[in-house]
Amino acid sequence: MTELKFVFGDPEVCTGCMVCVNVCSMRYSKVIGPSWSRVRAVRIEPGLDFPLFCRNCEDAPCMAACPNEAISRTSKGVVIVNNKKCTGSGECVKACPYYAIRLHPDTEKAIKCIQCGACVDRCPVNAIWITTENELNEKDADGRLSSLYEKHETELYNKEEI
């Protein structure tokens, strides 16, 4: 199996500027508004800013949860939503442990990060990058990043409206 890619960010480097969030909503929905973006940026004091993306899980619970088989994985390993099949049931939103798939406020169909890299290119501080599970484990050998994410998971993934 090809190694699954996802975008990941360092909350101690991210400054919370929202550029990634805005680039995403403008690119895909032609508006500015965090609820229209597939990226979220969550500030947690003291001093942390988490840029949050789809983690491209191997067992992708969103895929399994969809009652309409609207979510599938491409040959390149990207999990995508078929707009024709999506009825906006919201089952995927409930299933995702990362609150990384949500319903578009206008179309009410599911939207999620597809690792296009538009935000990665524009992040002014290189706080985000495209990676894989193995690569990330290597980079984060001391567990600094994973422990920051774990420590704050309740607040990061609470499914309150964005």
Binding site: E12, V13, T15, G16, C17, M18, V19, N22, V23, S25, M26, R27, S29, K30, V31, I32, G33, P34, S35, W36, E45, P46, G47, D49, P105, R122, P124, V125, E155, N158, E160, E161, I162
Partner: protein, 626 residues
């Protein structure tokens, strides 16, 4: 119009009534939004002769046309009212996320009239707008208020509030947002406190539609690239504004020992390099900010332990060199406390340093100060007084009035050491080492101020930009910070541009320093974001109109040329030390040039009827200038 919230909120706090009014587009064409919008609304609604802390004052908070856009640094909002510190035009600005959030909730500005008899906070969640009981948070700090509101309503709420200083009507209390962002100057936190308004909680889940969605990202990419390629951006990201301490000390422009001199022997200890090395956690950005001058810092242990957002050059200078204080941890901690209580660090440090000079001169003794030792550099005193001023305890109660009123109260010749213009304390620019800053301090509508004009083009070798913005004929004099020549021309131009920038919600970083974006860039952004077709010339005229209306606001309240003055120390006593010894501010010469350039009367400093006519302010002028 595209790219804005679309509605303004008018809140009558006396009656508890809330009204939504659509943004008046005709007014946008004449005043834009933000500072310009408030200049007009408050001009029309604040009666002459009222007490700024009475219910008759009107408090406005407005975002700019580009606030919440993708333009670099488009994060800002403006707060304005009649100032309880200066008794004239009061205005202050901050970055953050609160302004964009207000837009996403569907609003561009909020105007508060009257006063509530019981403490309230305004709760906004998209269409839901309510005044709620604030008795549980009255008496708490800015941080506690932020925590309480976000715990109660939503972790994602953005909060603007006052701390104890605003409640206690400290005359230089700030309006705070997003915990550590401050609309600090002019004492507007006291106005909010006088109205019984503790906070505004905003949650907006809407969107901004833009005028040119197709080309928007391409255009923004060009602005991003220019901003990131500018060498200042890298420097800003690394030091924020903190390394201005060393740069300003080098040119003798770092106010020290009140404002006796512009160099400080302990500068290295409070410098940007030291902060970056020992205390920086990370740089922080506000909405769409590529400059990231915001600092997040900590002191790990000891009496001054904290973690939070701070500092900024102004605080290092006011709480540090100005008080002769080279204890960096105390400077950082005192700034942290000022954020927590909600106070302007400039007036805070300047007022303490006034008292320290009076003490040094033997005019204040421990009988006046409840036994507190006010010797230069006593860092414990700086920290203690920060708290006592916010809570109006003991001697702090006198200092909470600001240095002018405190000196009136004490008397004994202590007025001589008050470093203010129109009762507001002069910021961290020793003007004998940069003449334009001396002029800017006296012409600013809100009293002593470096930001109304922010004339920095003579500060750091911007000859190219001077040539582009003014013309080659003004070089080399205009670029020479010690030469008073052409500074009237420069300050006038900078004021027009800066008030325009504050009316669109952009930052002075990126527009003035570095001078990367100018009128044509703003015009372009207004086109693609708002669909507004305004030329550079029209934008400049709007800036001029706002400055003139601010002036009329002040003229109506008795301001004349005789109020556009600096303390004698700066115009008569030569700088005693440093690289510019013997320099004074040649104020009269610069002021003549400035008035002439503005089309104002040289004798009294009033706008002439010709000028007002050209700007469409004839009616207002006739009512004020008899």
């Amino acid at each position: 119009m595209k790219g804005i919230g679309g509605n303004n909120l008018w809140i009558d706090l006396t009656k508890g009534e809330i009204e939504k009014r659509p943004v008046e587009e005709e007014m946008v064409n004449e005043y834009l939004l933000g500072a310009g919008y408030l200049s007009r609304v408050l001009y029309d609604n604040i009666p002459v002769g009222i007490d700024p802390l009475s219910p008759k004052n009107v408090l406005g908070i407005a975002t700019g046309l580009l606030t919440g856009s993708m333009f670099p640094q488009a994060s800002r909002h403006v707060v304005a009212a009649l100032s309880p510190l200066t008794d004239v035009w009061g205005e202050s600005h901050a970055a953050g996320f609160w302004g964009p959030e207000l837009k996403f909730a569907g609003y561009d500005a909020i105007i508060f009239t009257g006063a509530s008899s019981d403490p309230v906070y305004l709760y906004i969640q998209n269409d839901t707008v309510e005044l709620l009981d604030a008795s549980d948070i009255w008496g708490t700090s800015v941080f506690e208020t932020d925590d309480w509101i976000r715990e109660k309503h939503s972790k994602r709420a953005r909060v603007l509030s006052i701390g104890q200083a605003g409640e206690n009507k400290v005359r230089f209390a700030a309006v705070m947002n997003d915990r550590d962002r401050a609309s600090a100057r002019s004492g507007l936190g006291a106005v909010m406190g006088s109205k019984g308004l503790k906070a505004i909680s905003v949650r907006g889940t809407g969107k901004l539609e833009v005028a040119d969605p197709k080309d928007y990202l391409n255009q923004m990419d060009i602005f991003y690239e220019r901003m990131l390629a500018n060498p200042f951006t890298k420097e800003r990201a690394k030091y924020g504004t903190t390394n201005l301490v060393e740069l300003m000390n080098h040119i003798g422009r770092l106010p020290s020992y009140n404002m006796r001199q512009g160099v400080f022997e302990g500068f290295e200890k409070i410098s940007g390099h030291t902060i970056t090395e020992k205390h920086l956690v990370k740089p922080r950005s506000d909405w769409s900010c590529l400059q990231r001058c915001g600092r997040y810092t900590r002191v790990k242990e000891g009496p001054y332990k904290y973690i939070g957002g701070s500092p900024e050059f102004e605080s290092q200078s006011s709480l540090g060199s100005r008080c002769g204080n080279d204890n960096l941890e105390s400077v950082l901690f005192s700034h942290h406390l000022a954020n927590m209580y909600g106070m302007d660090t400039i007036s805070l440090g300047a007022t303490i340093s006034w008292a320290m000079e009076a003490w040094d001169e033997g005019l204040l003794t421990s009988e006046d100060t409840d036994g507190i030792d006010l010797a230069w550099g006593n860092h414990e005193t700086v920290v203690k007084l920060t708290e006592m001023i916010a809570l109006r305890e003991g001697f702090g109660d006198i200092l909470a009035e600001g240095s002018v009123r405190a000196a009136e109260r004490i008397g004994r010749g202590t007025e001589k050491f008050v470093m203010t213009v129109k009762k507001q304390e002069i910021a961290g620019q020793e003007p004998r080492a940069q003449k334009s800053m001396g002029l800017a301090a006296v012409t600013a509508a809100r009293g002593a101020d470096h930001l109304y004009a922010f004339p920095v083009l003579d500060e750091a070798g911007f000859d190219k930009e001077i040539k582009e913005r003014f013309g080659e004929q003004y070089l080399p004099e205009m670029a020479d910070r010690l030469n008073p020549k052409y500074k009237g021309i420069m300050v006038k131009e900078c004021e027009d541009f800066m008030v325009m920038v504050e009316s669109v919600g952009l930052c002075k970083y990126g527009t003035q320093i570095p001078p990367e974006f100018y009128y044509d860039d703003v015009a372009q952004a207004l086109r693609i974001h708002n669909g507004l077709d305004l030329t550079s010339e029209e934008l400049q005229t709007i800036g001029e109109r706002i400055v003139n209306l601010n002036r009329l606001f002040n003229v109506a309240r008795g301001v004349t040329r005789s109020d556009d003055q600096l303390p004698d120390r700066l115009t008569k006593e030569g700088a005693p030390k440093g690289p510019s010894p013997g320099q004074v501010v040649e104020l009269d010469q610069m002021l003549d040039e400035y008035y002439e350039q503005r089309g104002w009367n040289l004798e009294n400093g009033f706008p002439t009827m010709d000028t007002l006519k050209r700007l469409g302010l004839e009616k207002e002028g006739k009512a004020v200038i008899k």
